[in-house]
Amino acid sequence: MTVTLPPFHSLLDEHAADLHRFLVASVGPHDGADCFQETVISALRAYPGLSHDRNLRGWLFTIAHRKVIDHARSAGRRALPMAEPPELVTLDPDGPGSLPEDELWAAVRGLPPKQRSAVVQRYVLDRPYAEVAAVIGCSEAAARQSVRAGLQRLRADLPQEVRP
């Protein structure tokens, strides 16, 4: 028996805004738009082959997470000959400068992809750990660990807040 999948556009109606937010948080507004297109194309290519319609959101974000991994790899290649990507990626070229929020998102975009997706899913999109785990393809315990490690690294990377 074959599964009846909903029309693809209903996935976009439900998830396009979150998908865009996830990618802008993860790779910045400019590359986020590219990754968004790549995600839609890859998802549409694979969609008719799905054998079930459970957790289509998780499936869509798994594809987006892979685009973030690909993006991090090619960013790493661009940064050669450095062995490690720089601790902080550069600020958004189209941003107004060095607002504290720019530093925050630059630090997020400097996280290893797994931690980055975990932190963004958990806090920017407010998803439960079970969904974070489904997106990055690991156990719930490992998802918690990735979120924790990501937050630790952000705290280490960010200048101490001067509280008002």
Binding site: P7, A17, R21
Partner: protein, 223 residues
């Protein structure tokens, strides 16, 4: 050593999201292209889908268009127009996802030709449609009847019985009625031109008022 308060502050900032201060949040849905689009999200979706179309990934493209007989959902495969729907958009599209392919997305560009011809038709400036049709939703005798129906010209009417005779099955009036009731491409394939023997209106998928409106437009019904 940082305390839990620092983490809470960091989490609160993450929760506010990456949007620029003062920028509006994206709308909850990609919308239908007419909604406000403060972040260009709908434009981004449209650009992705235009690219998907170039990569042959859009099996069914659709658009909803206004008409004098109410909103119409128009859908086309790469081969041609596959569906004109009076019903709600979701019912029409879910049916297409099941019958044709789940790769169903909003793609107005694919329906530009049909939309223009429908506008001309509704304005009384067009008498026949010249767009490729994809008749895959009808089969067997029903399809044969609908193909014969395409030969009934603007402004004329036939009876269910006439169509049964024309398709070589004089006793098949009832089957002709079923073919009309399940016509996937109404208006373009003119099932509104089929009446009961004796001239009673019979039924219509888009409602009897719509049938009357179309027949009056074509001058086939006296006021």
């Amino acid at each position: 050593m940082t305390g839990p308060h620092d983490t809470d502050d960091l989490v609160a900032r993450l929760r506010r999201g990456p949007e620029r201060p003062g920028a509006a949040r994206p709308p909850a849905t990609a919308g239908n292209g007419q909604a406000p689009d403060p972040d260009g999200l709908a434009a981004l979706v449209d650009a992705a889908l235009a690219r998907a179309d170039r990569d042959d990934l859009v099996d069914v493209g659709w658009v909803v268009t206004d008409s004098p007989v109410g909103p119409l959902t128009l859908a086309a495969t790469p081969e041609g127009v596959v569906r004109v729907g009076f019903g709600t958009q979701e019912d029409v599209l879910e049916h297409l996802a099941g019958e044709v392919s789940p790769r169903v997305v909003r793609l107005p560009s694919r329906l530009d030709g049909l939309r223009r011809q429908l506008d001309e038709y509704f304005a009384g400036r067009r008498r026949s449609f010249d767009v490729p049709l994809d008749r895959r939703l009808s089969h067997g005798y029903r399809r044969q009847v609908l193909e014969a129906l395409s030969q009934v010209p603007y402004g004329e009417t036939v009876s269910y019985k006439d169509l049964a005779v024309r398709t070589g099955n004089p006793g098949a009036s009832r089957a002709v009625g079923t073919a009309m009731a399940t016509n996937p491409i109404p208006i373009v394939v003119p099932c509104h031109r089929v009446l009961r023997t004796g001239g009673a209106l019979g039924g219509y998928g888009g409602g009897i008022d719509t049938k009357v409106w179309l027949l009056r437009l074509e001058g086939a019904l006296a006021l």
